[in-house]
Symmetry: none
Subunit: 189 residues, 4 copies
Amino acid sequence: MKDSKNKLLQAAVLEIAEKGFEKANVNHIAKAADLSVGTLYNYFPTKRNLMHAIIDQLSQLHVATIVDSVMKASDPISRMKAFFDAGFDFIESNVIAAKIVFNSLNGSDENFKQRLFQAYLPLFELLRREVIAPGVSQQIFQTLDQDKTVNLIMFIYLGTGSRFDDEGKLWMKSTEVSTFVLNSLRYKE
Amino acid sequence: MKDSKNKLLQAAVLEIAEKGFEKANVNHIAKAADLSVGTLYNYFPTKRNLMHAIIDQLSQLHVATIVDSVMKASDPISRMKAFFDAGFDFIESNVIAAKIVFNSLNGSDENFKQRLFQAYLPLFELLRREVIAPGVSQQIFQTLDQDKTVNLIMFIYLGTGSRFDDEGKLWMKSTEVSTFVLNSLRYKE
Amino acid sequence: MKDSKNKLLQAAVLEIAEKGFEKANVNHIAKAADLSVGTLYNYFPTKRNLMHAIIDQLSQLHVATIVDSVMKASDPISRMKAFFDAGFDFIESNVIAAKIVFNSLNGSDENFKQRLFQAYLPLFELLRREVIAPGVSQQIFQTLDQDKTVNLIMFIYLGTGSRFDDEGKLWMKSTEVSTFVLNSLRYKE
Amino acid sequence: MKDSKNKLLQAAVLEIAEKGFEKANVNHIAKAADLSVGTLYNYFPTKRNLMHAIIDQLSQLHVATIVDSVMKASDPISRMKAFFDAGFDFIESNVIAAKIVFNSLNGSDENFKQRLFQAYLPLFELLRREVIAPGVSQQIFQTLDQDKTVNLIMFIYLGTGSRFDDEGKLWMKSTEVSTFVLNSLRYKE
DNA sequence: GATGAATGAGCATTCATTCAT
DNA sequence: TATGAATGAATGCTCATTCAT
């Protein structure tokens, strides 16, 4: 059943968030899901595969949520704000899973890193095509190297989006970050 | 001798950079250093301790280099530029060790993360006291929440400083980043 | 239906021939037979039992074929030839199943070994009563220890019958072997 | 020390002889040798490698013993007798290890089989060059296909050499077998 | 200081078997 | 008859750490 698979995914998220992928224990995950290791391996052929499932699930939702929200806004500036608002919202609603994803994004496992960058490519695209490019052509934003700018914004997003205080709140608020970014981009005569 | 300790540190940096802390193998490190595990344990009581030594060594040098360079500049703007210039320079001259440090900074091990933030605190201080504060009081920078701003700049530095292409070059140039940052900070009437 | 049982037996023969009994996987066998494990266990209560069924099926056919052929010949010499001819023929027509049987005959599982010797006892009997004994009393063969001789001939048969080249052909031809054996047995004054 | 390695080899021989390679348990072997699994893996990087060591050790000794003994005899007939005498002697003095080797020779693991045939090639050579060929050229043996004959004799040796009764004695005596073989080979006018 | 053989808890993975449907 | 999800004991292998020399 989908049920068992989901119980396993949930348990895995908790265990991996707590201990990191390497130190997470497949047997513990199964036990926490009230299932046997055998069952876990019926659904996920390897421990890495289980991690992939988590990464894919979360990143797809993450991307979709942001894309949705950005596209509902019309002008470049409110789109940029929407980007950070939706992103930070999503992260704060999914702190635990988000931790896993961000750790993978920056951790030492090249494989996971690659997979995540792949998954997040649509966000790079979104920023370029739907935010920066229109902003530049409408002279709202300065003329600039669009690729580099997109990269920079993504780094800022991913960097600020992965720092939590002890209560699991993000260190920075989305508006603070988007304001900083927009400040830099805005056209000045 | 200091000699053995250094050989061990070097070997450890290579091994950990390649495999990550968890998967790095203490016995391999000793062998690579042409020494025995016993000797390694004479110098470093645990594997984590070895990691700490690496982290501390590199981060201290990293911080000192940046502080040095920033303090040689006089006005806030050239200091900000110096910050990124010196930082990126240092990273590119120490790619392998830098990878370890950045992975720890973002990885799943809270302990290492803490230690590194501790080590990098002087950079937060440096930015606040020697760059942002003077810039604001001299009306070169906008009035803003200085703590938040410092955090943001550090995130940008750490984010952009940890992305390498396949040849080990940083994706972004220091001037691109510092320009972006200064653009945002500069006072506009 | 007999149908399911046979599909399972066929699939099992292939899997076990490829991997050996220990490494053969019951779940794979069921899947290969287009049936579920549950169904397999309806027909064969254990994995060993499935093996037994294979062993029994093949060995009975093997024995019957040889007995048939030998009894069609009349004199001891042509009976000995018939023995090897029919035996080698059978093996080459059932290479895959034959491999399983011979591996069991020589493998490490005493249980299977016993069962197979049991199954092949009629061949020992056949050689003694219908080939060697008449040959000796007709002074075609030398006087000799008949039990030992029968054992020896069986070892020769089983040894030469279990060596295949890369194309699945037997290394030796039946006439080469029977000639060798008869050469040794024949009476000389 | 060589000591530990030997204790492990001895324990492994016992365990594998009893259960077969697949079912042999590395942890049990280590315990039986009064050492830890870790130590076992210091000496043998995999379970298969441990098996290889056993196979190699025994087969080399086996081959050397037979070669030695055969070369001490001068004429083809006494050499053939020496071959079986020395071989059967060796087997009966090393019953347990010999069981492992013979099971491998006939078992389902192609890898082990190959390795053993490789190891026993010198015996094929020995029979051909030092026994059969001289016998034929001295007209002591019949003209015959020497390769096939050598194979046949080896099969007979390996077949008869791998059948033990319940007390661990070989079913056949070496002279019975060599007599049978020589009977077949001897020149008749 | 240096050595490296020994340790053993720990972990990912397999697979024959069961049983409720 | 047939199904296949669930089980969990079992096992090969790893590796940080110790300690007698």
